[in-house]
């Protein structure tokens, strides 16, 4: 599904290397979690994969379903099946949530040579998926994320994921800003999307999200590299002992 090989990335505006050789393979149907202390490069990895400006790939590659994505524009990566659930979804006053999502769905379909979704079909689908995520119909009519609580913003991200049906989902610290109930809702939404044809990369600081979204593989990231890979028990180890021992062990 997603294959990252020896990925080196630095900031464009300053000579600072952030990723220093990341290797990672996420198989279809699997959930991989990346944990790590602040500044380890987790969010940078998600941004680089999704095509945000400001980063320069100095070495390495990232392929999605065998296709190199690092040369693609952000929208091309989305159409190819990549989705990033943002840690801090932006508020966009003046752009209606529904209009935006319909434009996105149909832009992706068009890019893939598929038939665009009709208004009726879109409305029917979004209403059903919003109900599952307990998203009020009024929220759909409001501008994108404007006036949404932290939990509502994250639920909106999962709604977008559900509508766009990506192949590879990256969740960047989706648990931040969520209370227990919201975390359960968001996790249920993610779990509902798990299937054999879809991969997940869940970036998180804490074990608690992984109580709800059970990972198949857990990676520990520090100083721009993955320093350890294991099963779900690795997350529990981090929860108990922190990162210090693992980082020291690697050093």
């Amino acid at each position: 599904m997603l294959e990252i090989k020896n990925l080196h990335v630095k900031l464009e505006e300053e000579d600072k290397q952030i990723l220093k050789g990341v290797n990672l393979t996420v198989e279809a149907g699997k959930v991989h979690a990346i944990m790590g202390p602040n500044g380890s490069g987790k969010s940078t990895l998600s941004y680089v994969l999704s095509g945000r400006d400001g980063y320069e790939v100095t070495e390495g590659s990232a392929t999605l379903l065998g296709e190199e994505i690092l040369d693609m524009e952000a929208e091309e990566r989305a159409a190819a099946g990549l989705f990033l659930a943002f840690q801090y979804p932006v508020e966009i006053p003046g752009v209606g949530n529904m209009t935006f999502l319909r434009t996105a769905v149909n832009a992706q379909r068009k890019a893939r040579g598929e038939e665009e979704m009709s208004s009726t079909e879109f409305l029917k689908t979004i209403r059903a998926k919003a109900a599952e995520l307990k998203i009020d119909a009024d929220m759909l009519k409001r501008p994108v994320n404007v006036g949404f609580s932290g939990g509502e913003k994250k639920r909106n991200e999962i709604l977008q994921m559900a509508m766009l049906e990506p192949k590879m989902c990256i969740l960047d610290e989706t648990d931040s800003g969520l209370d227990v109930d919201a975390m359960k809702l968001v996790s249920d939404g993610v779990n509902a999307l798990r299937d054999e044809g879809r991969g997940f990369l869940v970036i998180t600081h804490y074990q608690r999200l992984l109580d709800h979204i059970k990972p198949d593989v857990v990676h520990i990231m520090a100083d721009g590299r993955i320093i350890k890979t294991g099963g779900p028990e690795l997350a529990l180890e981090v929860e108990t002992n922190g990162y210090a021992d693992l980082i020291a062990e690697e050093a």
Binding site: S50, G51, E75, A78, F83, G94, V95, T103, V105, Q160
Partner: protein
């Protein structure tokens, strides 16, 4: 005070090329306006109030050429139930217009009005009041030389909007139109205006709203050609009256829209808003002066400009609160979205407050499209061009929201989308 020689010469030359209409009730007002123009002189580049906008081509004796642009789209507001009134290069076109009778409103042509007419008390009156503290010579020029226009007396609540549409055919047409609108107490109407009008257009609308009356004014100017326009809206608001005016301008080499609003009755509301989109040698100037001289009135100025490829936007807005205008609520925002580094936005926001119990605020910003928001849209698969357009529409949304009628809002946004699509093509 004598005018400087150069200004005197330019003014004399311009006036000599025009003919003062003779006969009828408007003659005293026209002669009075002419003497004011002669005393003020037409504006020049050194006039403080014109320092951001060069008036040369508006002053010139010879009209700069402006070929009409074929947009291949139906005229805006054309699909709605409305009373249509057409002017071609500044001349009323009876054949293209509807019958002017409509319950709740009396409409006459300025050129046709009989000797004694209700408009006699208003024609040039608000324009004259609006000459202080700032001189507006083009408005006085208009009062003196207007060849046509409408006298609209709102005596009820018409069932449909009055739609004045301006068509431009002559490459060097020079139109001077003057409308007078009187809204009786408790009455309400909507006036729509659209079209490029002429190669050079001088437009004045005087609006007098009686107690509890309301006027909604929405206009769409422009299309893609080299036309020039200077417009003035003068509005006087009595107690508990409402005036809302919105202007969408898309392209045009030079546009200067002035609004001069005066509150004379308590608890009145005036909103003046606009959005413009331009590129290349586009120059757009919104100049607004609002005088609060009554208690508990609300004024809003909301202007948004989208500029690219060297376009220039200007905003000069002032809220003047007189000593007795307590509980004034004045809001003014002017913002520009610069789509590249070649465009510029020049702003002069002003508050002048002499009352002590008021809530007035203003703000002015210019900036590029927010990259974080752009990335968010693109990361969902929206192509960059469409995402930029969505952000642009979002940017002007606050101004468009000033229009009460949702269908009008949608129609204007559709036009903006079409404008953006043409440029993306």
């Amino acid at each position: 005070m004598a005018l400087p020689q150069a200004k005197q010469t330019a003014t004399d030359a311009r006036l000599a090329a025009l003919t003062l209409p003779e006969g009828g009730w408007s003659v005293p007002a026209r002669r009075d306006a002419l003497s004011r123009v002669q005393a003020m002189g037409l504006p020049g580049a050194r006039d403080e109030y014109w320092k951001f906008t060069r008036p040369d081509s508006l002053n010139a004796v010879e009209v700069p050429e402006a070929e009409a642009f074929e947009a291949h789209e139906a005229p805006i507001f054309g699909d709605r139930d409305r009373l249509k009134i057409v002017f071609v290069d500044g001349v009323f076109d009876a054949e293209a217009s509807d019958d002017l009778s409509l319950e709740g409103v009396e409409i006459a042509r300025l050129a046709d009005a009989a000797d004694i007419h209700w408009a006699q008390d208003l024609y040039g009156t608000l324009e004259t009041r609006g000459q202080t503290p700032v001189q507006r010579p083009f408005a006085a020029l208009n009062t003196a030389f207007a060849t046509d226009g409408l006298l609209i007396h709102v005596t009820g609540t018409p069932s449909k909007p009055i739609h004045i549409t301006y068509t431009h055919e002559g490459a060097r047409s020079d139109a001077i139109l003057h409308h007078v609108v009187k809204v009786d107490a408790g009455c309400a109407a909507t006036i729509l205006e659209n079209g490029p009008a002429a190669a050079r257009f001088n437009h004045v609308m005087e609006v007098d709203i009686a107690e509890g009356g309301a006027l909604h004014h929405v206009r769409a100017q422009g299309r893609d050609h080299a036309r020039r326009a200077v417009t003035h809206v003068f509005a006087r608001l009595a107690q508990e009256s409402t005036f809302k005016s919105f202007t969408l301008t898309m392209n045009g080499v030079l546009t200067r829209n002035e609004a001069v609003i005066e509150f004379t009755g308590d608890d009145a509301v005036a909103h003046v808003a606009g959005a413009c989109m331009g590129d290349g040698d586009f120059h757009h100037d919104d100049t607004v002066f609002i005088t609060h001289d009554a208690v508990n009135c609300e004024s809003r100025q909301v202007f948004k400009k989208v500029l690219r490829n060297g376009a220039t936007g200007v905003f000069q807005g002032k809220i003047l609160v007189q000593p007795d205008a307590q509980k004034t609520d004045g809001y003014q925002i002017s913002q520009s979205l610069l789509l590249d580094g070649d465009s510029q936005f020049l702003a002069k926001p002003e508050l002048e407050i002499y009352a002590d119990d008021v809530a007035c605020s203003h703000g002015s910003t210019s900036g590029a499209i927010d990259e974080d928001s752009l990335f968010y849209l693109r990361a969902r698969g929206v192509p960059r061009g469409i995402a930029e357009d969505m952000m642009t529409i979002a940017f002007i949304a606050e101004a468009v929201q000033e229009i009460d009628d949702e269908s009008l809002r949608e129609e204007l946004v559709d036009r903006v989308e079409a404008w953006l699509a043409r440029r993306r093509a």
